[in-house]
Amino acid sequence: MSEFSYEIVIGLEVHVQLKTKTKLFCRCRTEFGNPPNTQTCPVCLGMPGSLPVMNKKAYFLGMRTALALNCGIPKFTKWDRKNYFYPDLPKGYQTSQFDLPMSEEGYLDIKSTKDEFEPRRVRIIRAHLEEDAGKSMHDEAAGKGDSRIDLNRTGTPLLEIVSYPDMRSAAEAKAYMQELRLLLTYLDVSDCNMQEGSLRCDANVNLHITTDDGVIATPIVEIKNMNSFRSVERGIEYEAKRQYDVWQETGKVLGELPKQTRGWDDSAQVTRSQREKEESADYRYFPCPDLVPVIVTDQQIDEVRQEIGELPSALRERLQNEFGLTIYSADVIVNQGLSLVEYYLELAAAAGDNKLAGNWVQGEVLRILNDQEIEIEDFPIDAGRLAELLQLIQTGDLDSSKAKDVFAAMLTSESSAADVVKELGIEKVDEGALEALCQVLVERNQRIVDDVKSGNEKAVGALIGQAKKENPNVNPGQVRQICLEIINNL
């Protein structure tokens, strides 16, 4: 069979665990990693007679996120029951929002600094609240069917953010996830820990294949279990190839097969068909009679809007336009999170040189953070102290290599940059003395002068070495510049 070109069409459903102390409908704690079934009560265990009471904090965190995703907030929403049987769902239904979600119609812009794709606006269909299920741990070895259930997670508030199928490559899907995660951390609404499951992604994927008879669409597949950005990318790439091969083989197109659910097996790097949770996908949604509808006022929406600070996309633009950073630098700093941005802003203001501050944050500071695996909050040099160092560079008191020595010393001391300079015995060389020294060196090294004159400027490096021997405090750049000037004027 001949080969055809195709486009991957991707929509993502992202589940975000909201950062509340207590669960969505009871007062149990939401901590991760405690012994099984120690964070439960009659409500989240689905005991007979127990009733849910909505956690308002969760509702407002959901609203904050929805507003940051440019969603509209309806004034009236309600809770619905999604009915299905599964042991990690003790009530036999999940309380969710069906036809009147808490927010609708927003978007998230993504772009690539490495030109992997064109900038794109991914539209959001809706973001709604629901309760998490528990965890089942199966021991299906030898068909024993011994399963254990941990209901600590049951009832944890989740915000489900559903995108339109607006992404066209695995790289875009990954970028969307990364940008969404960044946004959520700026909003401080979630821990966003993919390993612990506080950020989970399902992808709906199919292909639009250009055939000789026009464009056809392959059946949509939902991919689950992608627990890292990398697996989102790999899972989608794998699935695209698989769908293409299956289409080549069977010719089946959208509508000819039911929607399939496949799980991403990270160790095998393949997607596998999953056994359905229930025989039919009819969830028999209906309004939950135990919960009253939620009515929100304009004032409440405004209050939540006030809680939202500057978001990544706006900050990137500001760092480029107002601070003159490159798109790449702005991206690197913003993507590290709000604390680093704040550090940068403070440093730039105190140092008085936005670009120099950008280079240092993006270079030395980030290098230390990565090497020592610490957050900017734990970085030993505060922005004020680093600014003093940058000022010494700007005045020419320190060259960049000396500045790095001073920086390294400052990491383990609490002294100011100026004091460290003194402690290290670094002194600024008098300009007259430096010129005199250079004059002597030029006169002493006729061979080097000739080399330079004949076009080999690099040869001047030897003079710098000699100058350093004479006086370790000389600025190599200055020596180079002065020597070249003298030689050229000869």
């Binding site: 689905g46 007679g49 009733l51 849910p52 009915n83 049987f85 003790p90 036999g92 009679p289 919960l291």
Partner: protein
Amino acid sequence: MSIIQKTASEQLALLNSGELTSVELTQAYLNQIEQIDGQVGAFLRVETESALAQAAAIDQKRATGAPLGKLAGLPVAIKDILCTKDTPTTCGSRMLENFEPPYNATVVEKLLAADAVILGRTNMDEFAMGSSTENSAYQTTQNPWDTTRIPGGSSGGAAACVSADMAPLSVGTDTGGSIRQPAALCGCVGLKPTYGRVSRYGLIAFASSLDQIGPLARTVEDTALLLEVLAGHDPLDSTSVNQPTPAYSETVNQPLENLTLGVVDRHFGEGIDPEIEAAVQAAIQVYESLGATIKHIEMPHADYGIATYYIIAPCEASSNLARYDGAHYGYRTDQAEVVAELAEDGSDEGPLVRMYRKSRSEGFGEEVQRRIMLGTYALSEGYYDAFYLKALKVRRLIRQDYDAAFEQVDMIIGPVTANPAFAQGEKTSDPMAMYLEDLYTVTANLAGIAGISLPCGFTSGGLPVGLQLQAAPFQEEKLLRAAQMYQAATDFHTRRPELS
């Protein structure tokens, strides 16, 4: 007159004056239960020891002069649908045979705080689904006025125990008439409060948007006393309404002036037993003689009440009862049998699904299974709009009928049931006939309004007849005062069934 024939209010006065102790009173009821509950079967469990211990503690408290709750020392029977910590709560079902909730229902907490003595648990239709108490998985309950007949349901045990002087006060639940209908058939008073008046927390749900907990007693005064304790806002129940609870027991004896009562003509005539009609008409005349004005009103959508109810209630039940899956608590089928069955029939059904299927088929009775299936069907894709959504629309129309009626009248007066108590087994094979038992009561649940049933006569065969008054939401105070006006003018409530 023996102490148990006195009203709760009279008993309370004796307790307070020191002429009676709670232990004596509790023991008197325990003796009565011992003597006659073999014929009635009102109680699933009598909590003799804990009741006497509680009574002794309250007597002690009273002796020290400590402040006492409103029911201090009065025994109360509880329908076996209200969760009670570390005590079996079966809901009349095999499914919850060995279930002991880890917490108390809010009303149980309130009763304990009011220093009531919990006497025992009363029988009921399984998960409150039924009108005769024949759907209990454990036993039938006999009507004290004729033990060959049913007591009504689903709070059959709750009504029968009061009627036969086995408890002065009793707590039931009403989803479509489950307090008012058995109260009528057993000749006692039963009140269904406004939806949201009493917390549902710890009430094992049948149909969440219809269920309400309410009091049963022999007199309107006693009913007012118990409602005063049960009612009130509860932060644990989002649907409970935050409104102050009036002191019902203090105002119940104040007659209402310029009372206007609405009569729905369609409640009479075809389908209603002539003796019931006569008794209710006579009651209306009593009100007229007390100065009430009678107005004829229309309830245009009342005829759709049963159809609407039998869609909404099963839909909610199908979801509410999904939690009884054998996985977490309650009845679970034998695992070895599951494995053996699957090996034998070669089905590709997984062991989990087979465990669900068998546990639910074995743990639930026939009527519960029927309603789960009705509800599951009505909520299914393609049927939702035609059934559930349509039922919700009719429900709104029924509420509008009531709203319009209550602009013209203070209360609506009429029958509770079309017929007196029927024979055991008479309707068990005819679910439709059983469902029609709720004809006059379901609309109050659908609309969320308050209703009361009180004795208004007897058939020639000696069976009690009930009178229903319905009032606008949160008008329980007026409802009780109006009921008391009638009770003060009549003596039907003083008659006793003869049990040897």
